[in-house]
């Protein structure tokens, strides 16, 4: 069955079983690497993407629920040559060991920062409760999210200044 999806601002038609979880469509059909299969049960957060600005587990979200909604993956935020503030922050702080959980962490953080540009430490930790890291990179991840908040704030100020 053909399903029309809006992924990273591009409209894409995918011919698949409507029950297919979004994660498999992103990775297997659209060849996007960022969202990762971790547990497949919505328990680890490595598959996290944004749907209409909300962080969701793509491994348990059937694609049929997503027509007409905006899906954003880490690829949709920025590129290696033109990184988004959250990506710049994670590189600056070197907030990754194996890195497998990091795209999911970044999408949860991005969803938080879009709603709440200056979150408290408590709010950051709450937003990331759904994301697990087995390497133990947590303190750097928290530092990177704080840094991303600063970068977004200065980018917004610059935009307001020039605009």
């Amino acid at each position: 069955m053909a399903i029309t999806l809006d992924v990273n601002g591009r409209t894409q038609e995918v011919d698949t079983d409507p029950a297919t979880p979004l994660l498999y469509v992103l990775r297997d059909y659209l060849k996007l690497n960022a969202a990762k299969f971790g547990c497949g049960l919505g328990q680890c957060g490595s598959c996290t993407v944004m749907v209409d600005g909300q962080a969701v587990f793509s491994c348990v979200t059937p694609v049929m629920t997503l027509e007409g909604r905006k899906v954003t993956t880490l690829e949709g935020l920025g590129t290696i040559d033109a990184p988004a503030p959250i990506q710049t922050a994670f590189i600056e702080v070197q907030a990754a060991q194996c890195g497998y959980c990091i795209p999911g962490m970044m999408m949860s953080a991005q969803a938080l920062l879009q709603k709440n540009p200056q979150p408290s430490e408590r709010e950051i930790r709450d937003a990331l409760r759904t994301n697990l890291c087995r390497c133990g990179t947590h303190m750097r991840i928290l530092a990177a999210i704080r840094r991303a908040g600063e970068l977004m704030k200065s980018a917004a100020a610059e935009k307001a200044g020039t605009g």
Binding site: T16, D17, T20, P21, Y24, R27, D28, Y29, K31, L32, N33, A34, K36, F37, T73, L74, E75, G78, T79, I80, P83, Q87, F90, I91, Q94, A96, Q97, C98, G99, Y100, I102, P103, M106, C135
Partner: protein, 323 residues
């Protein structure tokens, strides 16, 4: 028992804490018959040619090879630092190829904190020896002693200002030669890159959706498989009617080999769906049961065991604070 003794010997020799019980094949090569010729540093002892580790083309492009894999421990960055240091170039000048069965040395598993010790040692020594070969070739060209020459930025400069690039010098050198046991390693006080904390080269791809993991490989004509796990240890597959599963969308084949059961499909989620259906269709005979949970201590105490010394060196020594 032989296996056990080998493992202990190797654990002791490696001086590393290794929590694993299936690593033997990887370390076994270290314990195997010594390679012919003198003992070479690190993994050079097994992969003895300089060009197994370092190649420089006529344009001066430097490629370094390691049999170890980047797992987020940062070895790509660290090995590049080691190579750049001894070759007297910048880290950005090095292209590193990691753990490619067709192109790199077979260095076994990437485990046990052995990558810098074995691969790093090999690369450092190979890089130093390649640098010395470049200097010697330049000395020959300039008619000077190699000690008077300076290597920097992929160029060797004579005291009178004459210059020769790594590319042109490398074109005149055969690097397919065995390494020597001794290398002219840079003195610790002269190190420019080793010992510095560099940004990890693998992180940018990992935070932008680049190709960084095995899961990100998409090969031409690749299909997907999923295995149906038995319900318990040593269960035997009595029967399975796979006809319904073989008719599912995208399913290419149900594979049965004794108690092994799997399904291959065109798309990954088709394989997942078919695997779930196949698991329902499979009938297993369970042969073993788990021990009685209420009697675990007795069960453990009753297992076959061996008492012995894993390693003993020197005398116990303590001069710390007593709490």
């Amino acid at each position: 028992m032989t296996q056990d003794i080998n493992r202990r010997t190797i654990l002791k020799a490696g001086g590393a804490l290794i929590v694993s019980f299936s690593i033997l094949p990887a370390w076994a090569q270290e314990a195997a018959q010594p390679a012919p010729g003198p003992k070479l540093p690190g993994s050079l002892n097994d992969e003895r040619f300089l060009d197994s580790w370092i190649r420089i083309d006529a344009e001066g492009k430097i490629v370094v090879f390691t049999g170890k894999a980047e797992l987020g421990q940062g070895i790509k960055t660290a090995l590049i630092q080691v190579a750049a240091e001894e070759l007297e170039v910048e880290p950005a000048d090095i292209a590193l190829v990691t753990a490619d069965t067709g192109r790199t040395a077979d260095e076994g598993f990437t485990a046990g904190s052995q990558s810098m010790q074995n691969s790093g040692t090999a690369i450092r020594n190979a890089a130093a020896q390649v640098r010395e070969l470049l200097l010697a070739k330049a000395a020959e060209k300039f008619g000077t002693g190699s000690g008077e020459l300076k290597a920097a930025e992929k160029v060797i400069t004579a005291p009178d200002g004459r210059k020769a690039g790594y590319g042109e010098l490398a074109a005149a050198i055969d690097l397919h030669i065995e390494a020597k046991p001794q290398s002219m390693l840079k003195a610790p006080g002269t190190l420019r890159i080793i010992g510095k904390s560099l940004p990890r080269v693998d992180i940018p791809a990992k935070v932008t959706g680049g190709i960084a993991y095995v899961q990100d490989l998409r090969l031409e004509g690749m299909v997907h498989a999923r295995i149906v796990r038995p319900p318990s240890y040593n269960a035997t597959l009595a029967q399975v009617d796979a006809s319904r599963i073989e008719a599912m969308p995208g399913v290419i084949k149900v594979v049965r080999d004794g108690n092994f059961l799997a399904v291959v499909a065109e798309r990954e989620y088709q394989a997942v769906s078919a695997m779930r259906a196949l698991a329902t269709a499979a009938q297993w005979i369970e042969n073993e049961t788990l021990p009685d949970e209420t009697r675990l201590p007795e069960m453990l105490a009753g297992l076959e065991r061996e008492v012995g010394t894993v390693a003993q060196e020197g005398a116990p020594h303590f001069d710390g604070k007593v709490f």
